[in-house]
């Protein structure tokens, strides 16, 4: 069984601080991590490898620095890593990104393609589903659990108030939730292997077959018109009252806002 896991290297937003004067993000010195939803997808793939045996390829599109995210995936137990990196890919929106990733995935054998639900730096949740569309694969998003059954996977799909159990024949694509598992640690020996024995394959535009008008900045229909910092909310009110009065007060406030 061949599994492809798409990962993205993102700034660790839990470590991002705001410049109090300009209100902008301070990205200097913020560590980069594997996007949590993607890491959960990798863990799910590794689980499947432990249980049934599988060959796992991790793939990312990004600058050369994204190499470390792939090494981390190798140190956790992935078998092969591909870094899609080329100036031609730069400036891509989700559509151009998914076009590029899909072109690379076409060159590989796969039964299951896994992508994280969404990246913590962009939060679009579009790339996974778009890859499925490019590859004409059935897709299930928001997966909170999976197991293999014969030539299909049984998936637990999260809804707002319930789960759906879905059986999908492979090949297919799923997008995974960070809540679905606790990713394993890298192993010390795994890190040594990731740097000394395994390779991160660098693929450029020449290594994939893709319409160059549909990738990179040129191939990105999304235009950012303006970016701004969200205004901060005013401080909340604090009332120290008895439980009965608190109930009344809450009801009153909800009525004021037409919630009830």
């Amino acid at each position: 069984m061949n599994i492809i896991v798409c990962i993205k290297q993102v700034p660790d937003t839990t470590e991002v601080r705001l410049n109090p004067e300009t209100g902008t993000l301070i990205r200097d010195g913020v560590p980069s991590i594997i996007n949590p939803d993607d890491k959960a997808g990798l863990e799910a793939a590794l689980d499947m490898k432990d249980a049934h045996g599988a060959h796992i390829t991790v793939i990312t599109m990004g600058p050369p620095q994204a190499d470390v995210a792939l090494r981390e995936a190798l140190a956790m137990g992935a078998d092969k890593a591909i870094l899609l990196t080329d100036r031609a890919f730069a400036g891509a929106d989700t559509l151009a990104t998914s076009t590029t990733l899909a072109a690379a995935i076409r060159k590989l054998d796969y039964d299951l393609v896994i992508a994280g639900r969404q990246a913590i730096d962009g939060d679009t949740a579009q790339v996974g589903p778009q890859i499925a569309d490019h590859l004409d694969l059935p897709q299930v998003s928001y997966v909170a659990g999976l197991e293999k059954k014969d030539n299909s996977v049984i998936l637990k799909r999260q809804f707002e108030d319930s789960y759906h159990m879905i059986q999908v024949e492979m090949p297919c694509l799923i997008t995974t939730l960070s809540e679905m598992n606790k990713p394993r640690y890298m192993r010390v020996g795994g890190i040594m292997d990731a740097y000394n024995e395994k390779v991160v394959e660098k693929w450029t535009l020449e290594d994939i077959e893709v319409d160059t008008t549909k990738i990179g900045l040129k191939g990105s229909p999304t235009k950012v018109k303006k970016s701004f910092t969200k205004g901060s909310k005013p401080a909340g009110e604090k009332h120290e009252v008895s439980p009965q009065e608190a109930g009344k007060l809450i009801a009153l406030k909800l009525k004021e806002k037409y919630v009830i």
Binding site: V68, E72, A75, Y185, M186, R187, V188, G189, I191, A194
Partner: protein, 379 residues
């Protein structure tokens, strides 16, 4: 000359930091309070290869170097001095002497299970009357057929009771003094070997520190480590390496205390502002940070020298001397900067201060480190 870490070291540091933050830090206060050996953490460290970091892969280790090992002890010690010394004693004092002095059969037999963390290692040199003066060994080993019969006792043995494999030193020929000391690999369960009283300590309280008792203990002669009469050299060389581990522990304790203090002084307000705004606080923090960085350079340099197969005895002694003194100074200042709260167990700095003191004592006191350094100068 480069001062940047190798790529694998950076990723290893990420791993150690996240492991220590998630698995070690939450238990640190409990392990101290209950004087409990954190066996569950040892198992988790074993799973990810932290119990055999500088051990070649052929013996089941991670195949990393001593810099990678020192960094692991440092990161563990930032949160828990106990966990750090468990790894240090196991790796530097038990695995290393077998790796460096063992016969192929001994390496085959003992290293894989130790490096994988399935078994824990320990080292027994100190006796009631033989501390810094190791030549005062009273434990004796007498050859009897195919076995050596050991009699005597060892004290202050780290990992005692939990360890499965012990490197033990005993006199095989008292008339030869230091040249009459021989090293042995003794397994838990060998006839005549038992664990004595557990010490109640000031710090590193979760670390098991006990007496070892040998009463006609039967050790097969193939378990002699190195040659007969070469035990003292093995012990000294082992301790040279061990000092890198303890220096890394001291470094981690100091860094952990500084990190806590930076956080606290930014939050704690007195006279209408955070105490970090006062110049005294800033000067103290700056001096703490500088000494810690100097310690780190000494520790990594000693580890690097060992990796390069260069002589590192003096470097390891300097690293331990400076890092241990820095740990004591920094943790004491950390408590001071925390004020009354720092003296309570609500904050971790009082534990770090208690844990730091031992780094000036075990595996060669600070005074012994000065003897080693001076001996190198004056030879």
């Amino acid at each position: 000359m480069e001062f940047t870490l190798k790529k694998e070291h950076k990723l290893l540091k990420d791993l150690y930091q996240s492991f220590a933050e998630n698995e070690v830090k939450p238990l640190a206060a409990e392990v101290d309070e209950e004087e409990r050996f954190p066996i569950e953490t040892v198992k988790k460290m074993a799973e990810i290869g932290m119990m055999g970091i500088p051990v070649p892969k052929e013996y089941g280790g991670a195949g990393a170097d001593n810099v990678a090992y020192a960094m692991a002890v440092e990161e563990l010690a930032k949160h828990c001095g106990t966990t750090a010394v468990i790894v240090s004693a196991h790796t530097s004092l038990c695995i290393a002497p077998i790796l460096e002095n063992g016969t192929p059969a001994q390496k085959e037999q003992y290293l894989p299970s130790l490096a994988k963390g399935e078994k824990i290692g320990a080292f027994g040199l100190t006796e009631p009357n033989a501390g810094t003066d190791a030549a005062g060994q009273q434990t004796i080993a007498v050859l009897d057929g195919d076995n050596y019969i050991l009699n005597g006792s060892k004290i202050f043995i780290t990992n005692a009771g939990y360890a499965d494999v012990y490197i033990i030193f005993a006199m095989t020929d008292r008339s030869k003094g230091l040249k009459g000391i021989t090293a042995f690999i003794v397994e838990k369960g060998f006839e005549g070997f038992s664990i004595g009283k557990k010490e109640k300590k000031m710090g590193i309280k979760g670390s098991a520190t006990c007496e070892l008792i040998f009463e006609n203990c039967v050790v097969p002669k193939e378990n002699m480590l190195g040659k007969e009469g070469r035990g003292f050299g093995i012990a000294m060389k082992t301790l040279d390496g061990g000092r890198i581990g303890i220096a890394a522990q001291a470094l981690g304790l100091a860094q952990g205390a500084l990190d806590e203090t930076v956080k606290y002084t930014k939050e704690r307000k007195q006279f209408g502002r955070a105490i970090a705004k006062f110049q005294n606080t800033q000067f103290e923090l700056a001096s703490m940070d500088t000494k810690i960085e100097a310690s780190r350079l000494l520790v990594y340099k000693a580890a690097y020298f060992k990796d390069q197969k260069m002589r590192y005895s003096k470097e390891a002694a300097m690293a331990k001397l400076f890092a241990a003194d820095t740990a004591m100074e920094v943790t004491t200042k950390a408590v001071q900067l925390h004020g009354g709260y720092g003296y309570t167990r609500e904050y971790p700095v009082e534990r770090m201060m208690r844990d730091a003191k031992i780094t000036e004592i075990y595996e060669g006191t600070s005074e012994v480190q000065k003897m080693v350094i001076a001996a190198n100068l004056l030879k």
